[in-house]
């Protein structure tokens, strides 16, 4: 009897959130991702407060100084502290990345769910539209959209968000196709639920896990793409301390040896991307028992 109870308990535990969190933490890489993300979020929330100098304060007396105890990551061509600019800029880059994912998710997921649930002509038409969007490399598509909207950080985020729509639509569709065949959807239909209700209460909630994984990973890519658009002048405008823009500003100084202007913002972009990707993979592993077995 006691054994049965114990078994019952472990079975229940494998699905509890606490157990999943433990499993997540056990995965070293996911833990690293979590730590990176914590740092990034602290920067987003308190970046300007944590900065030792004003991110916009020019001081030509100390321009282009290599890393030192006064300026740990050096100064740029206007004598601004690179560390302070990176700290203050975190929120611009991150916010733009998050906005793009929200746009992609909010527009793409319902499209995919409806397409997958109804199937037939609806599916055919919307998925061909998605195929057309997917046939462009995302960055090229985003560039085209920004050129239409006019360059700004928000427009860059919107453009990346639009290029994300097909990605989220695809994931949501494939999940919706699975969920609609489940017994609980059949039984909901037999109990008299309307299609709208089934989509909202059955299909969408049961499609969330892969979408969350995808959203996390694409927030990481979002950082990269926001920076890329800013780098080519289609995102943030001077003198915003956006990471991609900082690299762009510093690129002419690489030849003359002032590498810190580009390398450090680049390192932070990399860290952000890696952090989100590791977390995304970690969530995927925890929520997919088949991956867990290895």
């Amino acid at each position: 009897m006691r054994e049965m109870e114990a078994e019952q308990k472990t079975r229940t535990d494998t699905d509890s959130l606490r157990y999943k969190f433990k499993l997540f933490i056990k995965n070293r890489l996911a833990l690293v991702g979590l730590i990176i993300l914590a740092v990034v979020f602290v920067l987003v929330a308190f970046g300007p407060t944590l900065s030792p100098y004003d991110a916009f304060g020019t001081d030509f007396a100390v321009k282009l100084q290599s890393p030192s105890s006064a300026h740990p990551l050096g100064t740029d061509n206007y004598g601004r502290d690179v560390l302070s600019r990176i700290f203050s800029g975190a929120r611009h880059t991150l916010l733009a990345a998050v906005i793009s994912v929200v746009i992609g998710l909010v527009l793409g997921a319902p499209l995919g769910v409806i397409s997958g649930y109804f199937g037939g002509k609806v599916d055919l038409i919307s998925m061909r539209g998605v195929d057309i969007l997917l046939s462009f490399p995302p960055l090229i598509l985003a560039m085209a959209i920004v050129s239409g909207l006019g360059p700004s950080l928000l427009n860059a985020a919107v453009a990346i968000g639009i290029s994300y729509i097909p990605i989220f639509a695809r994931v949501a569709r494939s999940r919706a196709v699975q969920v609609k065949r489940t017994d609980y959807v059949q039984s909901a239909i037999a109990l008299g639920s309307s299609r709208a209700r089934i989509i909202l209460t059955d299909v969408l909630p049961n499609s969330m896990t892969p979408l969350i994984v995808q959203a996390t990973i694409y927030t990481g890519y979002g950082i990269l793409w926001v920076a890329a658009l800013s780098f080519i002048g289609l995102g943030a405008k001077l003198p915003t301390p956006e990471w991609g823009l900082m690299i762009s500003e510093g690129r002419q100084y690489i030849i003359t040896g002032e590498w810190w202007m580009t390398v450090f913002p680049g390192l932070f972009i990399m860290l952000g991307v890696i952090g989100f990707t590791l977390i995304g993979d970690g969530i995927r592993e925890v929520t997919n028992p088949r991956l867990r077995l290895k």
Binding site: Y184, A190, G192, S193
Partner: protein
């Protein structure tokens, strides 16, 4: 015989497939009397479940279509209702209990909120009242500690208990007809008996009629007052349970009875269980004459030429066989 709650007349449901037209249901006539249980029995693939789904109008179209027939529920032909009207019949007037309790509950919601949702779908009550009624139903289906179960997720309870929850959900809107499609096939034998007893008890308590689909004649014997035997998409015999077990008329029904082992008759090597020889005809080919002709030991010329009609032998006992004209 009490008044009919549900009467199906000459139902035909076909599916268009790559291999051709599949005649899954090809002539079903049956009556579910009010307050009683009709057992629909037949082997796999004979059209039992398609009949049930046709009643609920849940045949996926395409590829399926109900091409002919009438499904009369309290004088209304369900096949003539709009989809919107039909939605109010589903769950409210006719409820269904499925075969797979393990997967028929939505994994992301607690038992209580799923049940309350269904209750609010058909009854104008607030959330608190809906939860109270859910609790009452869980009590009715014999779930211990129902307050705790309300706050649990489906994966936290056993298969038998899930089937009880599904039965509670199906009955929560006081339906007139409950269709149970092999409700115990996926459960342990000990739990099977409990669930069948429960379905029977609730039928009497709540005054519902049951359409019980099974391939198990033993279950029919325990549960049903009336029996419809299906073979190759057709109802071949319809009778009261007593009549059918005492005096099976269709050779297929006789064959089914003989293939059941009896606990009081030892099976000796020279007296093995009888199996029905041959195979069920493909549902893709149209058979001329009786669909049982190739397996029937009483077959004669007429069986190969003309399809037998569904003939009343005496009041309530009907059979589709030329032997009994």
């Amino acid at each position: 015989m009490t008044e009919a709650l549900l009467e199906i007349r000459n139902l035909h449901t076909y599916f268009k497939t790559d291999e051709g037209l599949a005649r899954a249901v090809d002539g079903v006539d049956l009556i579910v009397p009010g307050g009683q249980t009709l057992g629909l029995v037949g082997e796999s693939g004979c059209g039992k479940s398609v009949t049930a789904l046709s009643i609920m109008r849940l045949i996926p179209d395409p590829p399926g279509r109900i091409v002919q027939g009438e499904i009369m529920l309290e004088g209304r032909d369900l096949l003539k209702l709009t989809e919107h009207e039909m939605r109010r019949v589903r769950g409210k007037t006719i409820a269904m209990i499925f075969q797979e309790p393990m997967t028929a509950l939505n994994p992301v919601y607690r038992i209580g909120s799923q049940m309350a949702e269904v209750i609010q779908l058909h009854q104008k009550v607030g959330r608190t009242e809906a939860i109270n009624r859910a609790l009452e139903m869980l009590n009715k289906v014999g779930i211990a500690d129902p307050e705790r179960r309300l706050n649990e997720y489906p994966h936290e309870i056993s298969g038998g208990m899930r089937q009880r929850v599904l039965i509670a959900m199906a009955l929560s809107s006081h339906p007139k007809l409950v269709i149970a499609d092999e409700p115990t096939t996926a459960l342990d034998v000990t739990i099977q008996a409990q669930i069948l007893d429960l379905i029977n008890a609730l039928k009497d308590e709540m005054g519902t009629s049951n359409l019980l689909i099974t391939h198990d004649l033993g279950v029919i014997f325990e549960m049903a007052q009336w029996v419809a035997v299906m073979y190759a998409g057709k109802v071949v015999e319809y009778a009261s349970a007593g009549d059918l077990f005492d005096r099976p008329l269709h050779p297929y029904t006789v064959g089914l009875m003989e293939s059941i082992p009896h606990i009081d008759q030892p099976v000796s090597p020279d007296k093995m269980l009888k199996a029905i020889p041959g195979m069920v005809p493909s549902m893709f080919t149209e058979v001329e004459g009786c669909s049982f002709q190739d397996r029937c030991s009483y077959v004669f010329d007429r069986c190969r030429i003309e399809e037998p009609q569904f003939i009343a032998v005496n009041s309530g006992h009907r059979v589709r066989c030329w032997l009994h004209v």
